[in-house]
Amino acid sequence: MQTIPTQRAEEDLRVIRTLMERATIYRAISAPTALFGGCLALVLAGIIQVREHRWAALAPEVVRHISTRGFAALWLGALVIVLAVNTWYVHREASRDGRPLISPAMKLALRAILPCLAFPAAITIWFFYDGYEFDNELLLVRAWIGFYGLALIATQHFAPRSLVFLGWAFLLTAVLMTIGSRQLEYYSTPLVPNAAMGATFGLYHLIYAACVWRSPTTPLE
């Protein structure tokens, strides 16, 4: 009877794991999620913009009509809805292919993404406690856009190029918004931060969805 040494089996498993990690392509944002999230962001940005304009016409003496915390809460609400829809979509795809919901590829993606989201999460918590008093939506929005971009770029070792481009688009937008802070702050809040959210989380995601709609990738089983 032939036997295979344990050492050889371990070495084979190590080679398999390395090859798989190197070759895995995982699209952290699927095209349908991007489409849904993009539409929701555009609709929300539109509603806030129209509402502010309407109230500005009715009561021009009031500088702002939506509270700073209300603005942040609305966008966080949109995030929760998009995450719920994405979870449902991933669950449906996983069930169809007989894969676990949290696949090894998803764990890989989460390990890359989560550290980048720690800082914007802290800024958001601070904003709800203290930051709102200084009408700091612009700072909050820059952190959201910039660190979201960084999170996408952090998946570059296993993400398709389109997702990395999307990450760079977000990051560069945040960089430009930071450089042009003085000019942006000149305009009344929350219209500028709202427009920035609509343009990035809305428009960028829609462009991304249109570009990748017909290029599915299957996560590692």
Binding site: I4, T6, L13, V15, I16, P216, E221
Partner: protein, 98 residues
């Protein structure tokens, strides 16, 4: 130690094991991508793919876009065989440690 005969010998060969591993990670791989990723010669890669195809472990698709392109994917049988191969390897490691 476990019986070596339990391991699928078609997959156990180093080159074919690497091919099967890559095919398990995506829906399909083009010949060029496989060649680049594995740094194998054309002849060597073709021979291994032909062997796996004959055994029904790998499906082959030929497309003509701008130029002819052949892509490869694991068949259901191939996916099952690869999973079984991994299971046996893990058993060997466990038995060795236990």
């Amino acid at each position: 130690m476990l019986d070596f005969d339990k391991l699928d010998k078609a997959i156990h060969e180093k080159g074919r094991l690497a091919i099967m591993t890559l095919l398990a990670t995506r829906v399909r791989w083009s010949f060029q991508d496989l060649k680049t990723e594995l740094s194998m010669s054309d002849g060597n890669l073709v021979t291994h793919l032909r062997t796996l195809h004959k055994l029904g472990l790998v499906a082959q698709t030929k497309e003509v876009k701008k130029r002819p392109q052949t892509s490869y994917a694991l068949t259901g049988k191939g996916r099952t065989a690869f999973k079984e191969y991994l299971r046996v390897l893990e058993q060997i490691v466990k038995a060795g440690k236990g």
